[in-house]
Amino acid sequence: MDKPIMNELIAELKVKIIDILNLQDVSPEGLDENARLVGGALGIDSIDVLEMVVMVEKDYGIAIDSQEVGEKVFSSIASLALYIKETAPGSSS
């Protein structure tokens, strides 16, 4: 996997997530991409997951409409980035 591209995607996702979930007092640097995203210290719940689902569909053209897939994909920001990378239209992997 292309590490710099992944890192860029992760950085981009952090900014987007902070924005759409209105995570106050949180900076992109303060977000650990490997930490548990849902139900962790940030208080992210099922409604937030759905808001992120909309973002992923709108910005990356990827629909996530099953709870099973959602649970895996949103386990951390790193797993979300990996899923987007692998599933994005035109992705080579």
Binding site: Q24, D25, I47, D48, V54
Partner: protein, 721 residues
């Protein structure tokens, strides 16, 4: 004397058909009426399956909800020549189907928005059937219909009414269609409650109304034996995973009916078909019933008609006991073994005496009803006349800020009208708690904390009664705007959850862990008064306290379109007031009661008001001040009523027209109520407000009257203990 409450008449219109006979036939056929959406066009994509009412005349006005409710009301009242004493209608969408289109077309003629408000539906029905008593719009999401019926039961038992028309209505609209879809709660294959492969609900529409009476009719369909309310106080949209609130509501309904679980021989499930709801409900049932009786959800046949569903299912429960007929769990092929329930796979004829009907909703709002064959069970124990309500703490928000800031300006006679600052509506709220909350829920939480802190109560309030004229306008507007801007592709699940009228009260329940009744009521300019009425009906005599509040937000686009009192150029104002109440007078700041609430267009209304206040002599010797609420839209009418009241009562007390100071917004009367409490506490009325010397509140003349004038006449009385 104990009062039995009979179901004297019913009206029903749903995707299954119009009227009791058509409904019963469809249920006997075990037929699903769920089909792809037709009533409005989509910009793209396949329409999702919904439950829609067929054959409703196409007409522009009034909106679809109003027409559905009207049809049900006419049926329910068909065999009765007397209007009921009150109408209580559960409703979550009002005229929004019409509003959505008007907003898309950029229509700014506010006359066309006059049927937007939830209260417009119930007031329309009350007018059509000639009811001059309270017309209350209950909005507790998907339990609204059941909660409205529970409130009617309390009103009938209290003796304040002998006949109440109660139920629920909702029409399909873009808000709910796209909203539930954005939450991934819609099953593309229809709706399969309790099925192992269930994937969600089918959004639907309909209306059902029950004429409930304490005088026994010739052939009552059934008896409403009990009702129970609770709140999960867990999450804005998801049910408590163990069904905690569901269990509490079922237990409360059984206790209220005086029945053991074993007496129930059918359960009409909430059974929406979402994985979470059905699982939580099954856990609650399996905890309450050693062996659950026959049970089914009809939502695989009707879809989920939201506020109407509790009332529709109450009618189906009445059919069950009247006809000894139990409907099937339509849509379920393979019952989910994880639920541990055995739903009725076929319509069944079986002797049925007592039915439990479940309704649960967003905000964790739960309402359960017990419906039985008439006169079959012993009469419920008559309740004593409850003592009055006592105020233990209060707070307000206005354009000036919090209570202290507001009262300090008012003391100088300076108006406090304006939009409450973001700082003041977010005061004391940690950022993680409010990151998803826009204006109204922030105000609500801030007011709730303020009222609780002002009280000496250690325990937090266990139930919540909230009045709001317009609900969460920011969330509603943002949801519809993003829906339109994204060409219906990316509606916001967060805004949808936030847009429901009972969202803010649900947030207050979560914050306080308030698992008792949680009622949001939307009565236009009388929303706070209606919340107080609801609290008076439902709070018990125990030590527990409740939170009663009224709040509305000003919205740059929607307020001028929707609120008839906001003309172009009117200063946008918002805010509200909150109170910690209980029936314990010890240590109370003051007492409150609401002795009068009636439509003003009836003959002799002013006289009835004077009588309800104890007559001319009492009134003159008691009230030191009158706070008059005259919304700008009805100024002439309201001033006329006020002049007649002053003349006929001979009251010489000073009058403050409080909207001049608090501003034009629906729940301004909640601010007036805080003014009354504050004046009573300080013992004096600020002179500048009444243009003269500060009149003192004397020991013998120590009550303040807050009148609501206009389409309805209401009276709240605040006095020292």
């Amino acid at each position: 004397m104990a009062k039995r409450v009979y179901i004297a008449g019913v009206g029903i219109i749903s995707p299954l058909g119009k009227g009791l006979t058509a409904t019963e036939e469809a249920l006997r056929d075990n037929r699903s009426a769920i089909m792809p959406l037709e009533i409005f066009a989509l910009l793209h994509g396949e329409p999702l399956p919904v439950g829609q009412v067929r054959g409703l005349d196409e007409q522009a006005s009034p909106p679809r909800s109003h027409r559905l409710a009207h049809i049900a009301a006419m049926q329910a009242m068909a065999s009765c020549d007397q209007p009921p004493d009150a109408v209580i209608l559960g409703n979550t969408t009002g005229g929004i189907l019409t509003t959505e289109q008007l907003l898309r077309d950029n229509v700014d003629n506010k006359e066309l928005y006059r049927y937007h408000g939830l209260n417009s539906v119930v007031e329309y029905i009350a007018k059509e059937i000639g009811c001059s008593g309270p017309a209350l719009a209950v909005s507790t999401a998907c339990s609204s219909g059941a909660v409205a019926i529970a409130m009617a039961l309390a009103m009938l038992r209290s003796g304040k009414a002998k006949a109440v028309l109660a139920g629920g209505v909702d029409s399909l609209c873009r808000l709910t269609y796209f909203g539930f879809h954005s939450l991934q709660l819609v099953d593309r294959e229809g709706c399969r409650p309790l099925d192992a492969d269930r994937h969600g609900m089918a959004v639907a529409e309909g209306a059902a109304l029950l004429l409930l009476t304490t005088d026994k009719p010739d052939n009552p369909l059934a008896e409403l034996l009990g009702a129970g309310l609770s709140c999960d106080a867990y999450h804005p949209a998801a049910p408590h995973p163990e069904g905690r609130g569901a269990l509490m509501a079922m237990q409360a309904a059984l206790a209220d009916a005086g029945l053991d679980a074993a007496a129930i021989d059918y359960i009409s499930l909430h059974g929406t078909g979402t994985p979470e709801n059905d699982l939580a409900e099954s856990k609650a049932i399996n905890r309450l019933f050693a062996t659950p009786p026959p049970l089914s959800s009809i939502k695989g046949a009707t879809g989920h008609s939201l506020a109407a569903s509790g009332a529709i299912e109450a009618v189906v429960s009445a059919i069950a006991v009247a006809k000894n007929f139990l409907p099937a769990n339509t849509g379920c092929q393979n019952p989910d073994p994880a639920l541990g329930l055995t739903p009725l796979m076929q319509p069944t004829s079986q002797r049925t005496t007592a039915v439990l009907s479940n309704s649960f909703g967003f905000g964790g709002n739960n309402g359960c009803l017990v419906i039985t064959k008439p006169d079959r069970f012993s009469q419920p124990v008559p309740g004593r006349v409850k003592p009055g309500l006592a105020i233990h703490g209060c707070s307000c928000l206005t354009g000036a800020g919090n209570t202290a800031a507001t009262m300090s300006l008012l003391a100088q006679g300076v108006p406090v009208a304006g939009m409450a600052g973001l700082d003041s509506i977010s005061a004391n709220l940690p950022s993680h708690m409010v990151r998803r909350l826009k204006r109204l829920p922030r105000m609500t939480l801030s007011l709730a904390i303020g009222a609780h802190n002002d009280s000496a109560c250690e325990a937090k309030p266990s139930s919540v009664f909230m009045g709001t004229g317009w609900g969460a306008l920011s969330e509603t507007y943002d949801f519809l705007t993003r829906l339109t801007d994204s060409r219906e592709q990316f509606p916001s699940p967060t805004d949808f959850v936030g847009s429901v009228h009972n969202g803010p009260a649900g947030q207050a329940a979560i914050m306080f862990g308030a698992t008792g009744a949680n009622i949001t009521i939307s009565g236009g300019d009388y929303s706070f008064e209606q919340a107080l009425l609801a609290a008076d009906l439902l709070i018990g005599e125990g030590k527990e306290s409740c939170l009663v509040l009224g709040a509305d937000e000003g919205h740059q686009v929607l307020s001028p379109l929707l609120d008839p009192s906001i003309a172009p150029g009117t200063l946008l104002a918002d805010g509200g007031g909150a109170f910690c109440l209980s029936r314990k007078t010890e240590g109370a700041q003051c007492l409150v009661r609401i002795p009068f609430y009636q439509r003003s267009a009836t003959e002799g209304c002013i006289n009835s008001l004077i009588e309800a206040l104890g007559g001319v002599q009492t009134l003159k010797s008691k009230y030191a001040l009158l706070l008059a609420g005259i919304p700008a839209a009805v100024r002439e009418e309201g001033e006329g009523q006020l002049a007649r009241f002053m003349e006929q009562s001979g009251l010489k007390a000073p009058v403050i027209r409080y909207r001049k100071f608090a501003g034009e917004f629906a729940s301004a009367s909640a601010v007036a109520a805080v003014m009354a409490v504050s004046f009573l506490a300080s013992g004096k009325i600020p002179g500048p407000l009444v243009s003269g010397d500060a009149p003192a509140l004397e020991s013998n003349k120590n009550a303040i009257l807050v009148l609501g004038l206009g389409r309805y006449l209401s009276a709240m009385e605040f006095s020292r203990p």
